[in-house]
C-alpha cells in the first residue's frame, strides 16, 4: 500500500532538481512538438490569427482542448458551447490533480495554483511515477513543457501562413511511445495488470463518445473494477502501486 513515510525514501521520491525534471520530460517535448506546429497552423486556418493562437497556448495551455476549441471557433459556435466542450475534454485532469496532490512535498498554496495551471497530460505522466514529488522536479518538467508548447505553436503560426496542408497531418500516435514507457514500469502487480486490461477494453468501447469523455469514463470504471476485483479475488499486495525508477 502507498503510505507516506516521515523520512522520504529516495527510491520513491522524485529528485529535488529542476534540471532532472527538464531532462525527464525531454522525450515528451519531441513527441508534442508536431502537435504545437499543427495547432499553430490550425489557428491561422480557422481565423484565430497569430495573437489568438498564441494566446490560447499561453493561457489555456491544454492541447486537446485547444484543438477542439479552435475547430469549434472555425465553425462559429457560441462561447457557452466552447466552455462546456472544454470542460468535458479536460475532465480527466480531476484525476490528475487527485493523484498528485497527496504526493507533493512542501508545496505552499500559491505554488499549487501555478502547478494547477501547468498540469498537463505530459507533466502528469512524468511526475506520477513517484510516490512523493518534490516541487523543483515538477517545475522543471512542467515549465519545460510550457515553453516547448509556446515555441512550437509560434513556429506553427509562422509555418501555417506558408503551408496550409499542415493541419491535415495525422499525428495522433506521436505521444504514444513516451506514454508506453511511463505506463509499463507502473504495471507491477495483479491489480495494476487488471486495471490496464480493463482500461484497454473500456477505452475501445467508449472511444466514440463525444468530447473525449471515453477517457475519463473508461479510466474511472477500470479503477473501480480492478479495485473491486482485488477485494473479491486477490489477497492484498503490499508493494503494488509503487512505481520504481
Amino acid at each position: 500500500m502507498v503510505t507516506p513515510s516521515p523520512s522520504y525514501d529516495r527510491k520513491y521520491t522524485s529528485p529535488d532538481s529542476f534540471r532532472s525534471g527538464v531532462i525527464a520530460i525531454l522525450p515528451m517535448l519531441v513527441g508534442t512538438a508536431p502537435f504545437g506546429v499543427v495547432f499553430g497552423a490550425l489557428a491561422m486556418e480557422v481565423g484565430l490569427g497569430a495573437w489568438g493562437g498564441q494566446g490560447m497556448s499561453l493561457f489555456v495551455f491544454a492541447g486537446s482542448a485547444q484543438f477542439v476549441g479552435a475547430s469549434l471557433y472555425g465553425q462559429g459556435v457560441s462561447i457557452l458551447v466552447l466552455a462546456i466542450t472544454t470542460f468535458f475534454i479536460n475532465l480527466r485532469h480531476i484525476l490528475y490533480g487527485a493523484s498528485i496532490a497527496p504526493k507533493l512535498i512542501d508545496v505552499n498554496t500559491r505554488s499549487r495554483f501555478l502547478m494547477a495551471f501547468l498540469l498537463t497530460d505530459e507533466a502528469f505522466a512524468i511526475v506520477s511515477r513517484f510516490e512523493k514529488i518534490r516541487a523543483n522536479y515538477f517545475w522543471g518538467a512542467a515549465i519545460a513543457m510550457y515553453l516547448n508548447w509556446q515555441l512550437w505553436t509560434f513556429l506553427g503560426i509562422v509555418a501555417g501562413r506558408e503551408f496550409s496542408g499542415l493541419v491535415t497531418l495525422d499525428l495522433g500516435y506521436l505521444i504514444v511511445p513516451a506514454f508506453i514507457a511511463i505506463i509499463i514500469p507502473q504495471i507491477n502487480g495483479s491489480t495494476a495488470i487488471m486495471c490496464a486490461i480493463f482500461s484497454i477494453c473500456l477505452s475501445l468501447l467508449l472511444d466514440s463518445m463525444p468530447h473525449k469523455l471515453g477517457i475519463i469514463i473508461s479510466s474511472v470504471l477500470a479503477i473501480v473494477a480492478s479495485i473491486g476485483a482485488e477485494k473479491l479475488f486477490l489477497k492484498s499486495e503490499p508493494d503494488e502501486g509503487k512505481s520504481k525508477e
Binding site: 490560447m56 479536460n90 497527496p102 511511445p177 514507457a181 507502473q186 466514440s208 471515453g214 477517457i215
Partner: protein
Amino acid sequence: MNIFFIILAMTLVTFSIRLCALWFFSNRNFSTLTMRTLSLVPVAVLTSICTPLVLKPSGIYENPFMLIEFWAAIGSLVVARFGMLPALAVGMGIFTLGKLFI
C-alpha cells in the same frame, strides 16, 4: 465571436478543473483504499488515452496486425523497460518507416 472572451472562458474552465482536485486532495489524510485507488490513476488514464490511438487510429475497428501503430506500440512495449528514449526511438522508428514505405 470575440477571441478574447473565448480564450478567457477556456482558460477559466481549464484552470478551475485542474485546481479543484489539486486543492481538494491537498494536505489531507486518506485511507489506504483511497491511496490505493489514486495509485491506479496513471495506469488507467494513460492506457485509456493510448489504446484508441494504437488500435483505432482511424476511429473504426481494423485488424490490428495490419496497423503500423500496433507494431510500433509493440516495439515500444518490448524496449520500454530500458527507459523512455529507447521506447521513443523504436516506436517512432517503426511508425515513421511504416508510414514511408507501406
